[in-house]
């Protein structure tokens, strides 16, 4: 689906339709004051990063490189999402969220 068309159906997440339920699942499973590391978030910033940070605000959203600062790590498992290495970085006791897994780090 072209991103413009997908945006009309999926609001702010543009062509990343699976990211929307994933991020909303993370939001409902984490307290607003927490810090969450997401597998696809980029330090430089891209559309998926902006949309996820906006959707999860006021939670602090960080990349996996900063997961030591995080209370939770969430791995996006849809096609094009996390690699096997990312899944291992998340932790061992994950809970399922739409299109991914959420790990409590502290």
């Amino acid at each position: 689906m072209p991103s413009e068309t997908a945006r009309l159906h999926g609001s702010a997440f543009s062509g990343l339709r699976n990211v929307a339920p994933f991020v909303r699942g993370v939001a409902s499973a984490t307290p607003p004051s927490s810090t969450v590391a997401l597998s696809f978030v980029s330090e430089k910033g891209d559309r998926a990063t902006y949309a996820a940070a906006f959707e999860l605000a006021p939670r602090r959203v960080v990349s996996f490189a900063r997961r030591r600062e995080a209370d939770f790590a969430a791995v996006f498992l849809a096609p094009g999402g996390a690699s096997a290495a990312d899944r291992r970085l998340g932790g061992t006791r994950g809970t399922s969220v739409p299109f991914g897994e959420l790990f409590r780090l502290r």
Binding site: A12, S14, G45, Y50, A57, R60
Partner: protein
């Protein structure tokens, strides 16, 4: 259903705060036309909402709907009861051509409202900057330090001013929840205020027909008033630059206390919206001061104090409150002589991108600026319009020049220039509309 309720709540909150601003600011809105007064009222009302909200947050309390609607209502009631209202001059009713142009302006606002309200705000800069900060402030019930200093969100431009995020958070407080779909209702109102400010000012200076033409030229400028711009700072910036420009021309001709107040407030709010606002008011103030020095009329210092100082003060206070933030987008070391060859290379890339064959956007923008300068110079009803031409031209040149200092790809940076130029369009209309109004009227357009 909740979307409609939230939208109605936000519109009601804006209406109450605009009424409060309208009556409380009667003294310095004196002499303006009715349309101008309401454009100012909307802008000042938003500033009032944001100020009330931030003051409560600074005091450690998160205000709810009762405070956010009650405080402006009390201010409005007190202003009506205790402030003497100035007598208003009667305004001529618009003729048939002007009525038709005004009706088209209303259609243009309705079209943009449809685009703005058809879905939640989604543009990149809303998600990454303005909405992200507004939502963080609203849910945190504070202005958290990490908005400025979190290395994980350097892409959110922590150095940008906070007026728009504060307005988003304040309007959310006025309905007791965050709804980024309903908040989009703000942007068609800003478009309507832009058209009203142009209509009122041009009508007061030239003719009703010229005013109506100015209104439709601005309201139907869809490169600015489009869905992509909803939630971003260019639409508020366009209104703030327009109000500043009108106040600057008024003050340059008649340095009254009310014009001076408008100039100072417009300068402050232009700086609070975006850094481009600070740039514009400083450039315009500098040019006005040079004119005053050349004419030896003793106005150079008042002009700098009223037009430039509030914007500069805003920047200093913001820096003092949040601390220094490195500018990630620009590498000013290119200014060192040993890096001039690299700077020249970047400048070449920027210019060849902006003025590339087959893309007329930049050419049109600069031709429009030249047309503005030509139209503004001999403007019979407002010769001081000539102060805006150099400011607009310098502003555009600075936009192009700073792209050459980009830390990242200068061509990518230059891709934002047309969007920034669009925000200058309503100011250009100030001079152009009176020159074109002859198309719709039988007589020569002159100052009233």
């Amino acid at each position: 259903m909740s979307f409609l309720l939230h939208t109605a709540g936000i519109l009601a909150a804006i209406a109450v705060s605009a009424c409060a601003a309208r009556f409380a600011a009667d003294a310095f809105l004196a002499g303006l036309s009715r349309a101008e007064r309401w454009a100012w009222a909307l802008w000042l009302g938003l500033a009032l909402e944001a100020s009330v909200y931030l003051v409560f947050l600074a005091a450690g309390r998160a205000p709810g709907p009762a405070v956010m609607v009650g405080a402006p209502a009390v201010i409005a009631a007190a202003a009506i009861l205790f402030l003497r209202r100035r007598p208003r001059a009667t305004e001529p009713a618009p003729g048939s051509p002007a009525r038709a142009l005004l009706a088209l302006s209303v259609v243009a606002v309705a079209v943009f409202a449809l685009a703005a309200l058809s879905e939640p705000m989604w543009s990149n800069d809303f998600l990454a900057i303005w909405g992200f900060k507004g939502k963080t402030i609203w849910f945190s019930r504070a202005v958290p330090d990490r908005i400025f200093h979190d290395p994980a969100v350097v892409w959110s431009h922590p150095e940008y001013p906070l007026f728009l995020p504060a307005v988003f958070a304040a309007l959310s407080a006025s309905i007791g929840r965050w709804d980024d779909h309903a908040l989009a209702a703000l942007f068609p109102l800003l478009q309507a205020a832009t058209a009203a400010a142009l209509y009122g000012w041009t009508k007061r200076r030239f003719s009703t027909c010229a005013g109506a033409l100015a209104a439709i030229l601005a309201a139907a400028f869809f490169p600015l008033f489009r869905a992509f711009e909803v939630g971003m700072a260019e639409i508020p910036l366009a209104l703030s630059l327009l109000l500043f420009s009108q106040a600057a021309v008024d003050f340059d001709e008649t340095p009254s206390r009310s014009a001076g107040m408008r100039l100072a407030i417009a300068s402050l709010l232009a700086a609070a919206v975006k850094r481009e606002g600070t740039l514009f008011v400083v450039l315009a103030a500098g040019w006005m001061a040079l004119r005053a020095l050349r004419r030896r009329n003793g106005r150079a210092v008042p002009v700098l104090a009223l037009a430039a100082a509030p914007a500069v003060l805003h920047g200093l206070l913001l820096t003092a409150a949040r601390g220094s933030i490195p500018d990630r987008d620009y590498d000013w070391s290119f200014a060192r002589p040993d890096r001039w060859p690299a700077l020249a290379g970047q400048a070449g890339q920027v210019l060849s991108h902006l003025f590339r064959a087959g893309d007329a956007a930049t050419w049109i923008a600069f031709l429009a600026l030249a047309f503005f300068a030509a139209a503004a110079r001999p403007a019979g009803g407002a010769p001081a319009l000539a102060i805006l031409g150099p400011a607009l031209l310098l502003q555009s040149c600075v936009y192009v020049a700073v792209c050459s200092f980009s830390t990242f790809d200068p061509v990518w940076q230059a891709s934002f220039v047309p969007r920034l130029e669009n925000a200058l369009f309503p100011v250009m209309v100030l001079a152009v509309a009176p020159r074109l109004a002859f198309l719709f009227s039988s007589g020569r357009v002159t100052a009233e």
